[in-house]
Amino acid sequence: MSNLSVDHLLGIKYLTTSDIELIFKTADNFKKIINQPIKKVPSLRDITIANLFFENSTRTKLSFELAEKRLSADVINFSSASSSVTKGETLLDTVNNILAMKVDIVVMRHPNPGASVFLSRNIDAKIVNAGDGTHEHPTQALLDAYSIREKYGEVKGKKIVIIGDILHSRVALSNIYCLQKLGAEVRVCGPSSLMPKHLDALNVSHFSDLKEALNWCDVANVLRIQLERQAVNYFPSLREYAMVYGINKNLLDSLGKEITIMHPGPINRGVELSSDVADSKHSIILDQVENGVANRMAVIYLLAGKIKNN
């Protein structure tokens, strides 16, 4: 197996286990490259990539842009706040206008679930989903699983608990798909009001008690409380959430075993993680950021290999 089974990266759901392994193997090569004295390779010098961000993002956008530039692609950036979208242009019109500029790959973040699938059916470019609403965020799941693989040698058989707002989280859904495909056991933890109804269908069980969850797991992937996606109040106050579901050093010390802490960022310090945990040796949060660039390079490189230039 040396080629992806898909033409776009729309979600982890559509990938096979060997696709994921191929991406990781390729990311291993890129991780070496980005630690060389010269961190750039000329692979994609005849490729143009558009980063379309219809929703705010700092690190995902930076990470994609860096990955694209390290591959020597030409990059154009678009964010909806400063564009004609505010003048009422449709998604398809916006994207077709950008494609008329001969773009080969589109990296898109959009607030509507399924936006990237819609795009892949209607336009002739490779699509990378950089987060679509509450649906999927595949590259985040890839870099998370890659970071676990890097720390433990393999993902298979590891116990991973995802903590926080599972209901609104595309990171959680993509992580569940990805980790299960790689043979890990995944559970979730958080207030019942923030749990989706379809947990059973995903074959994931739920802890209400944080300490019980931490005692069970090898890795805790802690999510940010996304207040911007919550139309109603799902818990009384951030202070109360932090008291019940926030992880601090005392709690970690009381476990009697060492676990690894992950977070996709940005961290609400003092809410889901205290500063002494976020900055401790248990945390691999900054490794996740570095691995993000390597994994995004791998995804873009592999998809670009499927473009035919004649």
Binding site: S2, Q36, S43, L44
Partner: protein, 181 residues
């Protein structure tokens, strides 16, 4: 129909490698400021052979070596049907100011060597770069690249293929020319 003929057998390969090593010693003396770099994937087998032979002839210094992967430096990603599978970049050494001997098994169009030189330069500025190849398919170059050390020079048609087999992969050391019609 496939037609095959042997260009070099095991013994001839051994003799050729020994001769190439002696030529290297002539130019590089004690190898104090020289590094040997194999081109992934096929050049690494030859590079290993050269290295172990050299080491028996020049026992005073430990000769430094590495392997360079050219996947991301190629110019045909969008022009081929098969994907390019990256190999390991094994370059735990500095080439800054060194005399580099680049090793590949077959020199054909010269495009791989162009990629290898580009890849090499990302690790520093070498003093010089030389090329050693077991088979030189002359008159088939797409780029102005010539080897400094050659095992055997051959004339072959575009449709003919040179196949280098190594004991560690194929169970035998030999070089074949395959004609496909």
């Amino acid at each position: 129909m496939l037609e095959e003929r042997e260009l070099l057998n095991k013994q001839e390969i051994e003799i050729t490698i020994e001769r190439l090593c002696r030529q290297l010693i002539e130019n590089h003396n004690g190898f104090e400021n020289t590094v040997i770099i194999g081109v992934q994937p096929r050049g690494t087998f030859l590079s290993k052979r050269i290295l172990s032979k050299l080491q028996t002839l020049v026992s005073k210094t430990k000769i430094k070596s590495g392997n360079v992967d050219i996947s991301f430096y190629r110019d045909d990603l969008l022009r081929r049907d098969e994907p390019i599978v990256p190999q390991e970049m094994d370059m735990d050494l500095t080439i800054e100011g060194k005399n580099v001997i680049l090793i590949d098994d077959v020199l054909f169009t010269g495009r791989s060597i162009r990629s290898a030189i580009d890849a090499l330069m990302t690790f520093g500025r070498p003093n010089s770069v030389e090329l050693l190849t077991l088979i030189d398919r002359r008159y088939s170059r797409h780029l102005p690249i010539q080897p400094n050390y050659v095992g055997r020079t051959i004339d072959a048609l575009e449709s003919e293929k040179v196949i280098v087999e190594w004991d560690e992969v194929n169970g035998i050391d030999r070089i074949l020319m395959r004609k496909s019609e």
